[in-house]
Structures are given as structure tokens and as C-alpha cells.
């Protein structure tokens, strides 16, 4: 099959950390994709990958991808570098279609600039908020769209993990990952924006448990349209969260819905209640690595590129998360 005038979609991955290797592996299973190149600054990682990713170009700088006739690039570098890497990809004409792991940028100003660049260069652009492709959250979105719990009046979103519980004082980890709000909280903020539309921050409180440069726990309140009120609790210093956990409790005029990655629970005022686990929601994928949502995400982005359709969340959609984060960070006092 000819794609964009070639036999398959030529894709590169920039940044070979955990997420880069995950995406590269899944992409390699997709029939319409040719994993063409990998880019990482570390010479040691490149040497190791040369043996593992046979037949794939390995480079140390994004600009070296220029001559490879790439159709799409996955950017999986640390958040602080997204802006420069994506700007280089567009300005040097390396590829028109760009996927980037969340968050889009390290500030709303930079995110806006990337949106403008993406729009001027065309192509498909998407940010990796893969919880949107989790079957529980997809079910919750459907139920909300159908008005199952009526008009939404309020919600409580949370994102917890034990990742930095008890880690050393002044650990570099939180700096490397950009703080809990960008690292963990961004997912639940994106879900809330997807579920409820635009939000503005009303008040916020940031805490840094061990005097790191970035926050470890965040609480903030938001307002939406039609009197909607919401609050977020986000922390990576919680006890007993072996894996990161995201969820929302949503109160509507007809009942309550609880949703997390594993299940959706409905309790309606008329006495009816329902529960769906992942098992009930057709969670299988063609190839499972990490979690089913990663496979769905890559399939969806590739399909969007092949068909020339928009992918969501696009840079512009996802920049709203950067906007909320900026509001929280700058408005918390």
C-alpha cells in the first residue's frame, strides 16, 4: 500500500527514555509504519540502541534527522526541551506531523508559540494525554455527553502517586520531571477540560515537602461555565500509591459518577446504580505494551496522519492544560 507516495509512514522518535522506547516499540508493530530513526543525546544509549534497533538511523541531534524524508516525529524528551525540539522540527522542515508527550511545553507562552508554528506548517499535531484513550474515561465521557447524571454542578479530580514519597531532600527528580503538576497533574487537568470545557483557576495552594525547586503537592479550585465548580488534589508523595492513580468524582443534577482508570461507577438519584470495569468495556488491543491506551494512542495518531485528519488533543487543545498550570503556579502566591 502506498502512503503519502511511499510504501509506509516514516517515523522517528526523539528521546529514548522510558516513553521513547515504549512508543518506538509499539510503532514497530504497526503495519503502516516504518520506524526510520531514533535520536538521543546520550552516546551510550545510542550505542546500545544500535544493536537493538537494527536498520534504524541513530542520531544525536534533531537536525541530523533533516535528510531522512520523515513523515512524523514523536518527541519524548523531558518537558523542558519540548519547545526547542519541536521548533527545530518545524523550522528545519524535518517533518510536518508531530506527536509530543505531555505537557506540550514548560509554560503557556511557549505552548502558544508552538500552536502557532504547528498551524502555520500544517500537518497533524497531538499531545500524549493517553488517559483519553483509557476505556473507563471514554465510558465516562460518553455518559456525560448523554447527560446521564444531568447538569454537572461540581467535580473533584485527583492524581496521586508514591513516586517521591520519602525521596531525598533536594532530589533532582522533581526538577527533572518538572514538578508534580506537569508530571502527574496534567493528565487529570486534561481529562477535566475534555469532560467539562474551559476552566479558570479560582485559588491554589502549592507545597514542596522537602524544599525542592518544584512543587510536590498541589490543591486548587477552578470554575467553569454555568456555575460549574471543581477542585484538584495532586501529589506524588502519597502513601500506598504503588502506581500513579487518576480519577474524578462528578456530581450532577441527577446523580453522581466516580471514574478512575479501572472502573466507572454511577449512582443516580432515582435509585439506579451501575458499575463498569475495564473488563466490561472491550479493553483489548492489537498489541499490548505498558497499557492498552498507549497502543490506541499510537494507532490513532498514525491513522490521523494517514488520513490527513486532526488528532485530539491537538497542540491547541492541549495548550489549555499549560494555561491552567501557569495559572496555578503564578496565582498561588
Amino acid at each position: 500500500m502506498k502512503i503519502l507516495g511511499r510504501e509506509s509512514l516514516r517515523v522517528a522518535v526523539v528521546g529514548l527514555g522510558k516513553m521513547g522506547i515504549l512508543h518506538a516499540s509499539i510503532l514497530n508493530t504497526l503495519p503502516d509504519v516504518q520506524l526510520t530513526a531514533l535520536c538521543d543525546k546520550s552516546a551510550m544509549i545510542r550505542r546500545f540502541c544500535k544493536r537493538v534497533f537494527e536498520g534504524v538511523h541513530l542520531v544525536g541531534d534533531v537536525e541530523e534527522l533533516s535528510d531522512l524524508r520523515l513523515d512524523a516525529i514523536y518527541v519524548t524528551t523531558p518537558i523542558s526541551s519540548h519547545f526547542l525540539v519541536i521548533k527545530t522540527i518545524y523550522s528545519k522542515g524535518i517533518a510536518r506531523n508531530v506527536f509530543v508527550e505531555k505537557t506540550l511545553a514548560s509554560s503557556y507562552d511557549k505552548a502558544k508559540e508552538l500552536c502557532a508554528l504547528a498551524q502555520s506548517f500544517g500537518g497533524v499535531n497531538m499531545v500524549g494525554y493517553q488517559r483519553r484513550l483509557n476505556v473507563s474515561f471514554m465510558k465516562a465521557k460518553d455518559l456525560l455527553t448523554q447527560g446521564t447524571i444531568g447538569e454537572v454542578a461540581s467535580f473533584n479530580g485527583y492524581a496521586y502517586s508514591s513516586d517521591l514519597l520519602g525521596s531525598r531532600k533536594n532530589s533532582k527528580t522533581s526538577v527533572f520531571r518538572g514538578g508534580v503538576l506537569r508530571d502527574l497533574g496534567a493528565h487529570v487537568v486534561d481529562l477535566a477540560l475534555w469532560f467539562f470545557g474551559d476552566l479558570t483557576v479560582d485559588s491554589a495552594r502549592l507545597e514542596s515537602a522537602t524544599k525542592r525547586d518544584f512543587e510536590d503537592s498541589v490543591y486548587f479550585r477552578v470554575k467553569g461555565s454555568d456555575g460549574l465548580e471543581g477542585e484538584f488534589n495532586i501529589s506524588w508523595c502519597m502513601e500506598n500509591y504503588r502506581l500513579p492513580e487518576f480519577g474524578l468524582l462528578i456530581k450532577g443534577s441527577k446523580g453522581i459518577m466516580r471514574v478512575d482508570e479501572d472502573k466507572v461507577e454511577l449512582k443516580l438519584d432515582n435509585g439506579k446504580s451501575s458499575m463498569w470495569y475495564r473488563h466490561d468495556l472491550n479493553d483489548n488491543v492489537d498489541f499490548l505494551l505498558g497499557a492498552p491506551e498507549f497502543s490506541r494512542e499510537d494507532q490513532y495518531f498514525v491513522k490521523s496522519v494517514l488520513e490527513g485528519c486532526n488528532a485530539e488533543p491537538s497542540f491547541c487543545t492541549a495548550s489549555k492544560v499549560d494555561y491552567i498550570i501557569d495559572q496555578v503556579e503564578h496565582g498561588s502566591g
Partner: protein
């Protein structure tokens, strides 16, 4: 090597690590007691007394403690071990905290401190030549020595299985040379090479293409009535199993992470041909007794 024809009923270790694939909330509600090695060791022993004949575990500090406790109670002789390496959760957590290179440095330090001369020599070769196979062998020597020193000489280490994240990533990247090197190396050590996967159909097709001998390996893959984690579909997994009559497939996720009752799970498993055994995690004494009695009655 073990009795090849014997059906295996293995105790799984997920609950001992605080894992519930049904919901993370459920795992937290269970509390900490289950993750204490002493309590977990009692559950394994109770399971063995009620029909289980082996233990499948990820190699971690807690499971090595469990093995030491079982050895102290004299239970190692009848215990057949199926070890999964690496303990992916711990390594993923470390990568999240310190990055890929940080993990590599940490691991090199552990090997050096262990004083395992063979592992150190193989590891140096792997680093100098950037040889993934040598690094893999280093890691395997190190982990197998940890298992044997904890379980004691009496224990039977039937199989060492590559964790699903490694198996499935190597499958995705078409690393046939890695699989073949792993199989050859484990057979040299007299241990059955095994592979845990959530992509059973994909693995079966690739292994056929690469001429990997199914009679010499163990495969652990999800099989349950509701098709949970049976990718790409329950139907295709069942067909692939039926087409591999000679293999040693161990069914995991048989209760679909607690979504199914043991009785309905075992009725489904009875309908499947060619299963070598099943793996079930238990978190309470009564559950251990009832589940393994039931499975023994229905599956063996």
C-alpha cells in the same frame, strides 16, 4: 528439570506486591499485611497443602524473603519455582526517578557488590562491547544466584521467565536473536526458558516464524472467561492455543484479576486444550484453601 507431564497449579505473587489488576483502589484496601513476607509465606504453604505444587514469582526482596521463610519451615522440597525476571515494577519506578542511565549505573553497582565473579566478568564484557546478550546473561546469572541462595538447594527452579514488558518489547522489535540467545543460555543452565506475555497470538506467530522449539519453553499468558488481557481477542488466543499442542502454556489472569469466581474460572479453563497449568494469586488463608482445592478437583 521437572516431571514434564505433571500439571502445574502455581501460586501467583501479585497480591504479595500489592497488585490488583481489577483496581488499584482494591489493592490499597487490602492493606499492608498481605505484603509482609511472613504472612505471604504462610499463604504459599497453605496453598501447597491444598493442591498447589509451585510458586510463580517476580524476583524481588519480598519474594526472596518468602523463599527463605519457606525453606526454614522445610517446605522447599515440594516447591517448584517459576521465577519471573526482571521485577519490572521496581526498574520502571527507578527509571522514572533516575532515568535509564541512572538505572544502568545502579544495577552495575549491585552486581559489583554481589561479588558474583561470573556475573562481573560477563557484565564487563557486555559493557565494553555494548553487547546486550552478554548484559542479559550477566543479569540472569545474578538473579538465578539470588533465587538459589534464598530458596536453598532443595528447591526446584523449573523455569525462569522473562517478564512481559521485556518479552513483549523484544517481540515488538523483532529481536529473534535475543530470544534465541536466551533459550540457548537457559537450556545450558538446565532451566526451562520461559516467557510471560500479554500478546500470546503475536508471540506464537513470531516463535513459529523464528523456529523456536515450543517443547523446550514455557509460556505464561492470560486465559480467562471474559477475555481480559487476551490480545488481540479471546477467540484468537484460544485458536492459537489449540494450534500449539506440544507447548507448556501456563494460564495467568485466570480469575481476570478477581472479576471471576474460581468456580466459573475453572469451568472455562476445563474447556481449553493444551494447558500445562494455571497460576492464581491468593490473599487470604480461606481463599488459598478453597481456590486450590477447587482447581485441583477440576483441572488435575
Amino acid at each position: 528439570m521437572s516431571n514434564e507431564s505433571e500439571k502445574m497449579l502455581l501460586v501467583g505473587d501479585n497480591p504479595f506486591h500489592g497488585i490488583s489488576h481489577l483496581s488499584q483502589e482494591r489493592a490499597r484496601v487490602r492493606g499492608d499485611a498481605i505484603t509482609h513476607a511472613e504472612h505471604a509465606a504462610k499463604l504459599v504453604v497453605t496453598s501447597l497443602e491444598n493442591g498447589a505444587n509451585g510458586f510463580m514469582f517476580s524476583v524481588s526482596e519480598i519474594t526472596l524473603s518468602i523463599l527463605r521463610m519457606i525453606r526454614e519451615t522445610g517446605g522447599s522440597e515440594r516447591l517448584r519455582l517459576y521465577a519471573i525476571v526482571p521485577y519490572a515494577y521496581e526498574y520502571v519506578r527507578l527509571v522514572t526517578q533516575i532515568g535509564v542511565l541512572g538505572l544502568a549505573k545502579n544495577f552495575a553497582k549491585q552486581i559489583a557488590v554481589s561479588g558474583n565473579v561470573r556475573a562481573i566478568a560477563m557484565g564487563l564484557k557486555g559493557v565494553i562491547r555494548v553487547d546486550p546478550v552478554a548484559l542479559m546473561k550477566t543479569y540472569l546469572i545474578y538473579e538465578i544466584s539470588r533465587i538459589k541462595s534464598s530458596a536453598g538447594k532443595q528447591a526446584n527452579l523449573d523455569s525462569v521467565l522473562l517478564h512481559e514488558i521485556i518479552t513483549d518489547m523484544a517481540l515488538a522489535l523483532n529481536l529473534d536473536w535475543l530470544f534465541k540467545s536466551y533459550v540457548d543460555f537457559m537450556l545450558e543452565l538446565g532451566i526451562k526458558p520461559g516467557f510471560e506475555t500479554r500478546n500470546f497470538v503475536f508471540l506464537a506467530n513470531k516463535f513459529k516464524e523464528w523456529s523456536i522449539d515450543f517443547e523446550k519453553i514455557a509460556i505464561a499468558a492470560p486465559f480467562n472467561k471474559v477475555g481480559f488481557q487476551m490480545n488481540p481477542s479471546k477467540d484468537e488466543c484460544e485458536k492459537a492455543l489449540a494450534n500449539l499442542p506440544e507447548t507448556g502454556v501456563l494460564a495467568i489472569s485466570v480469575l481476570a484479576a478477581g472479576y471471576l469466581k474460581p468456580l466459573e474460572a475453572s469451568k472455562y479453563l476445563q474447556t481449553l486444550p493444551n494447558l500445562k497449568g494455571v497460576v492464581v494469586g491468593v490473599s487470604k488463608e480461606t481463599q488459598a484453601r478453597e481456590t486450590f482445592r477447587l482447581l485441583k478437583e477440576n483441572l488435575i
